[in-house]
């Protein structure tokens, strides 16, 4: 994709989308707080604010330069006469970026929000035991390096986006709303963090059996999911205009597909949990909804509404089943369900573009291009993010002390709880 030239209507639409997009951040932050314990609620919300602040600063400092925008070719290496652009050619501190409402600046605005959203995703996985300084340090890595690198590859002149031009694979890797750079990169970082942090204290009984630790506020979780929908409409719309070059006439289709994905996923998760546990589970259904949104990010601009409903149904069931499997079988203690929702939901959405995409002259090559994208996320992003966070953990210890975990992150790190007038539950403090 070369530089997109936006008409006045497209620019106005893009600005509106970008104005509502922060609601996705608010929604994900609320979900993270609601799915954690009550003694960590203020810490979770403050951590969300810090993540957004650090991500914004890091993206401004170097992320925008690494991601780049436009048709300058970026930093490229050549194999057999084909250019593989691996990083942007922008300047640090967004210098040289035209501050005139041009697509380049709108893309930087979207980049700030997207990198912050990617940074919020691992918060749910590290809930109840991840220290605030470590959260900030890990977010700096994600927003300053991992996210912009993969965003460059996926959009614009990046080598994944150019698979169609260089190797005849359909229209190249397609991901209008950023399922790969935002959700899968964020979700895989969450997976690496659960491995590095280990399970929460009290997660297992004395004989080693895993216990369910329910979130403290289902209303936060569900309201967060509803807020996220509005933000997602903005992110998907802006991404499609800026990076997929879609015509404004397709914006209603993108909006309908986004809502259909979420609706199908929520219903599917509710049905799956109803079948498995005899009652629908509120937090898993909300997570299913968000998983459908993550899947929609990749495919909303390229599939028919009926296919969007199918994508949503599959995403919801995938989230509901995988949350349980990760918890019970694979020892992944992920309180927010971020790995299932964002990593698996996003990967499914990327694959769905190849399976259901209505693209002219794309053929089977499109499925191969999407597969290369998935292989890159699993084969490069996961090891890279694990190694980077493992190294960072040596410098800034990630996990809070046992005392801090028992006391709660609110009192231990902030000195005050989120609900000072509530009755304290003995099982939370008298461990």
């Amino acid at each position: 994709m070369q530089t997109v030239v936006l008409s006045e209507v497209q620019t106005a639409l893009c600005v509106v989308f970008l104005l509502v997009a922060p609601l996705a951040l608010a929604g994900v932050a609320l979900m993270c707080a609601g799915l954690g314990r009550s003694r960590n609620a203020a810490h979770a919300m403050l951590a969300a604010l810090c993540v957004i602040a650090v991500a914004t600063c890091m993206y401004f400092l170097c992320g925008a330069a690494l991601q780049g925008y436009g048709d300058d070719g970026g930093r490229a290496i050549s194999f057999s006469g084909k250019h593989w652009s691996w990083a942007g050619k922008g300047r640090l501190l967004m210098m040289g970026l035209p501050v005139d409402g041009s697509p380049a600046f709108l893309a930087a605005w979207l980049g700030v929000l997207s990198s912050a959203l990617a940074g919020l995703i691992p918060l749910g996985s590290g809930a109840d035991r991840w220290r605030l300084p470590a959260i900030c340090a890990s977010t700096a890595l994600l927003s300053g390096l991992t996210y912009p690198l993969f965003a460059h590859w996926s959009w614009g002149v990046g080598w994944l986006a150019q698979l169609g031009t260089n190797y005849g694979l359909g229209r190249g890797y397609l991901d209008a709303g950023g399922a790969g750079p935002i959700h899968v990169v964020g979700g895989l970082t969450a997976l690496a963090l659960t491995w590095l942090l280990g399970a929460r204290r009290g997660k297992y009984t004395s004989d080693g059996m895993p216990m369910a630790i329910p979130g403290h506020n289902a209303v936060f979780v569900i309201f967060g999911a509803l807020l996220a929908l509005v933000g997602w409409l903005g992110l998907n719309g802006a991404g499609a205009l800026l990076f997929a070059g879609v015509d404004p006439s397709r914006i209603p289709l993108i909006a309908v597909n986004t809502v259909l994905c979420a609706a199908g996923a929520a219903l599917s998760a509710a049905i799956t949990t109803r079948v498995r546990y005899s009652k629908p589970d509120a937090s898993l259904s909300a997570n299913g909804w968000t998983g459908g949104l993550a899947a929609s990010s990749a495919c909303c601009a390229f599939i028919a509404p009926a296919a969007a409903l199918i994508v949503g149904f599959v995403a919801g069931a995938l989230v509901a089943v995988s949350v349980e499997m990760l918890d019970l079988k694979l020892d992944v203690d992920d309180p927010g369900g971020s790995v299932s929702v964002h990593a698996l939901g996003g990967l499914w959405g990327i694959l769905a573009v190849g399976l259901f995409g209505r693209l002219e002259a794309a053929g089977a090559g499109q499925l191969l291009a999407q597969t290369v994208g998935i292989a890159t996320l699993l084969g490069f992003a996961l090891p890279a993010t694990w190694v980077l966070n493992w190294l960072l953990n040596r410098v800034v210890p990630y996990r809070v002390s046992a005392e801090g975990e028992n006391q709660g992150m609110d009192l231990y790190e902030l000195g005050a709880g989120a609900y000072p007038e509530f009755v304290t539950h003995t099982d939370e403090f008298m461990r």
Partner: protein, 59 residues
């Protein structure tokens, strides 16, 4: 086992990239892409298994 798993993940990705660069297209390229993904799946299984905790060590 953990290091081997991550190495297999990287190796699978390299196989996918090699298939793009070296093979002209058609079935051979698709086959190598599938093989690369298979190697990645094996690496993922190893990494996941290396993080399973023995029951006695669970917090």
């Amino acid at each position: 086992m953990k290091a081997a798993g991550f190495l297999l993940l990287l190796t699978g990705w390299m196989l996918v990239l090699s298939a793009l660069i070296l093979l002209p297209g058609g079935g051979a390229r698709a086959g190598f892409l599938a093989a690369g993904l298979g190697v990645e799946a094996l690496g993922l299984v190893l990494v996941v298994r290396s993080h399973l905790m023995p029951r006695k060590e669970r917090p």
